[in-house]
């Protein structure tokens, strides 16, 4: 389109004006649009972009980031596929933070907030980071990461004295001692958020926690691993402005002593690994977030607690809440925005009955993720009718019941999609026969705004995928499990879906000619990787060997970086040139 390359495009707006306007535009899509107008606007955007999310670390390289956005202040990089949270990805799969840390250390002078998710971090990386940016780093989040130890955290504790946020949630950390927390306690007086929830860090000393609470007058959120609650009495007394607390354990036989524990007065976000809910009753009406994932409550306890929480906006719990708990939720918690019901291990389950009542009662719902034992078209229709604010819907059908009440769910899914117009993210994990090819076609046709989908055991033939891929205009990231689709159909879908830039599939019909069918989706700037079927032998808790058969996986993604060079033996890169 440019006929005279050297002449600048005249937008009729002086740079000075644009520079005044740009700081108000920080949404990534707006910024992306701005950068496409002309070269000058591209340059101005590059110079002023404050936040970058690299949704998948292999789509580009760290030095490209540094060259284009040298002034970036906040960076989030994500690595391993989501399936890593479910132990489906080899540990050494990849997603190393090293190149990113090196870029931060060398060139990104303005960087203040850093967030790595599902990536491999080494102690040396943390040391480099601490030495280079320790004086200015304000937030570090190592979220579901692995590969480092408390020695690496020691460097962070001792050199990053400007840290307001340290988050290590759900990371796999090798614990050598509790010195890292001691370093923070001795060196930091401005910490606001401290999070090592869902880690196995247990050698931390409660005295250090108490010291942090005393020194850091803005400490508002603390999420810890298993530390005895009775030891935290002093901590709670010192943390005067604490709003969020999760973790801790209640192991003392003398349960009376727990009555002496008083929680901070502003506490409104809580997660307890306990059965001791009565101690929460006095301030339950203040709670807007409740995490019962690690609590030892049964259905009745859930009901008793929930009905005392009229201001609840976020609830996470397990299926033990039951349909009855959902009824109480629907009656009592009219402000509920986010509900996540994880899979428990008991007999109580959640079904369409509870979901229907929930949809009718909690009209503000924006996020719903639930494991159900049974589901009907009518309940999905109810969600479509009532949950008008729903942006994120995730449903997994458990395999405990041999048959479900009402299938296929084609019409219910269609009703839900048509009703929930704001839907951006969708996950359906079903079983063969529950969503037919027709239903899969409905998903394609009626999800105009959905950007991410996870589909498990849907459809019954390539026709379904064919119909599906005629639609989904906004779909950027697609994850599928247990597919009956052939490689040819997958390749076709990858080419048809207009916005698709990331595809992950596990369990599909491998074709007899090895991988030639998949290569049909090969394009410049697109990487295709395979993890062939594996057999993984682990030991379970009774020390017996458990053999897990992992079906083959495909990962295909758009990339400016060319094929990976750092993959382990388990991963095969499909390069059409070879």
């Amino acid at each position: 389109m440019e006929e005279r390359r050297t002449a600048p495009f005249n937008t009729g707006m002086p740079d000075a004006v644009l520079k005044c306007v740009l700081p108000y535009l920080d949404g990534p899509r707006d910024r992306a649009s701005i950068s496409l107008v002309c070269r000058r606007w591209y340059e101005l955007d590059s110079a002023s972009r404050k936040h970058i999310t690299i949704a998948f670390c292999y789509t580009t390289t760290a030095d490209r980031l540094g060259r284009r956005f040298p002034a970036v202040e906040s960076l989030k990089v994500k690595g391993k596929p989501r399936a890593a949270m479910y132990d489906l990805i080899p540990d050494d799969w990849g997603g190393y933070v090293r190149p990113w840390v090196q870029e931060v250390a060398a060139n990104l002078d303005r960087l203040r907030w850093l967030h790595f998710r599902r990536m491999i971090v080494r102690d040396s990386d943390l040391e480099v980071l601490a030495r280079s940016r320790g004086g200015v780093l304000r937030a570090l989040k190592l979220d579901k990461c692995s590969g480092f130890s408390t020695d690496g955290l020691f460097h962070i504790g001792s050199m990053c004295r400007e840290l307001r946020t340290l988050c290590l949630e759900e990371s796999s950390i090798v614990e050598l001692d509790g010195q890292w927390l001691h370093e923070i306690a001795m060196n930091n007086s401005i910490l606001e958020t401290l999070n090592f929830y869902r880690t196995d860090l247990v050698q931390v000393s409660f005295e250090d926690l108490e010291r942090i609470a005393r020194n850091c007058c803005n400490l508002t959120s603390v999420k810890i691993s298993n530390c005895e609650i009775l030891d935290l009495v002093g901590f709670f007394r010192a943390a005067a402005v604490l709003e969020e607390f999760c973790g801790g354990s209640f192991n003392n036989e003398q349960s009376d002593r727990y009555n002496a524990v008083t929680f901070p007065p502003k506490l409104c976000r809580l997660g307890l690994g306990s059965h001791r809910m009565p101690s929460v009753f006095p301030f339950a009406s203040l709670l807007n977030k409740l995490d019962l994932l690690y609590a030892l409550l049964d259905t009745e306890d859930h009901c008793l607690l929930i009905q005392r929480c009229p201001n609840l906006e976020i609830l996470e719990t397990r299926t033990v809440i039951g349909d009855r708990g959902l009824e109480v939720l629907a009656q009592s918690c009219k402000k509920l925005k986010r509900l996540r019901i994880e899979r428990g291990s008991g007999n109580v389950s959640v079904s369409h009955r509870g979901l229907t009542v929930l949809a009718q009662g909690c009209l503000a719902l924006e996020y719903l993720a639930v494991y159900v034992s049974d589901i009907t078209n009518a309940s999905l229709e109810s969600i479509g009718t009532y949950s008008k604010n729903l942006c994120d819907f995730r449903l997994a059908l458990l395999d405990r019941e041999e048959t479900i009440t009402d299938f296929p769910l084609d019409n219910g899914v269609r009703a839900l999609l048509r009703g929930c117009e704001k839907l951006r993210r969708l996950a359906l994990y079903l079983r063969p026969g529950v969503l037919t090819d027709v239903g899969l076609g409905y998903i394609g046709r009626y999800s105009p705004n959905v950007r991410w989908m996870f589909l498990g055991y849907v459809g019954s033939s390539d026709t379904g995928l064919f119909e599906f891929s005629k639609g989904c205009p906004s779909l950027q990231k697609l994850e599928m499990m247990g597919c009956c689709f052939s490689e040819r159909a997958l390749a076709h879908a990858a080419l048809q879906l207009p916005s698709l830039r990331y595809l992950w599939v596990q369990g599909y019909q491998t074709s007899s000619q090895s991988s030639d069918d998949l290569l049909a989706m090969a394009r410049p700037c697109r990487n295709i990787e395979l993890i062939p079927a594996r057999r993984v032998i682990t030991t379970d808790q009774v020390e017996e060997a458990v053999v897990l058969e992992h079906p083959a996986q495909i990962l295909a993604y758009c990339s400016l970086a060319g094929p990976r060079t750092d993959f382990p033996e388990t991963v095969i890169s499909l390069d059409p040139v070879l």
């Binding site: 005895e228 059965h275 009565p278 109580v348 296929p408 019954s460 033939s461």
Partner: protein, 209 residues
């Protein structure tokens, strides 16, 4: 073949025309699939159509299916899918044998019914095209993956409560209607009442787990 297809369409309005593939026979009471291209002789087709007219007129109710101890046969041919209910096992073997002879391939004749096939062989199931038997097998064999963090928590707690049977049998008939307080092994209600000593196992401190 065209007439047969139409008659089948009338009886089974939801039969989906799959894209043109080589003929496949997938017996849902066994994982038997002929790979590659299979050409069925016309007399084979005639035999099949005969079976069709006998069986397709009767939507097998759950009771009938159980009492006759019959299996379901799915045939993919020439871009059409046909589901036959209430096929006696012996007849199914005959059909497979004929098709095998025609195709000249060896067929793995397993007789074990997949759980998935029987589960879906209810009244409604035969009106809809069933997914391939291999997919049902995959679903039956692969448990739903658990989130790692939650899995660890549930295992640790199981150990602490001394319960060695982590997965109670799901087939209790009143599970669905049990909306009341659970007495499942996973959750012991302490509440405000004194803890019963028999419910508590001697526990190791949590942080050592």
């Amino acid at each position: 073949m065209e007439e047969e297809a139409e008659s089948r369409d009338q009886l089974k309005p939801n039969t989906v025309a799959v894209k043109q593939v080589a003929g496949d026979i997938a017996a849902d009471n066994g994982v038997a699939k002929l790979g590659g291209s299979v050409e069925l002789e016309s007399e084979t087709l005639g035999f099949l159509s005969q079976k069709n007219s006998q069986n397709c007129s009767l939507p097998a109710s759950g009771v009938n299916a159980l009492s006759l101890a019959l299996s379901q046969l799915t045939i993919f041919y020439d871009g059409k899918v046909c589901v036959f209910d209430a096929i006696p096992v012996e007849k199914m073997r005959e059909i497979m044998l004929i098709a095998t002879t025609a195709a000249g391939n060896t067929v793995d004749m397993k007789n074990a019914a997949t759980d998935c096939a029987t589960a879906l062989a209810s009244q409604q199931a035969q009106l809809y095209p069933l997914p391939g038997a291999s997919l049902c097998k995959l679903h039956a064999e692969l448990p739903i993956a658990r989130r790692h963090s939650l899995q660890r928590f549930l295992e640790k707690r199981r150990d602490r409560l001394g319960n060695r049977n982590p997965y109670p049998a799901p087939s209790t008939p009143n599970t669905k209607t049990n909306l009341g307080a659970a007495t499942s092994p996973e959750s012991v209600c302490f509440g405000t009442s004194p803890v019963r000593p028999d419910e508590l196992q001697p526990k190791a401190p949590a942080h050592a787990a």
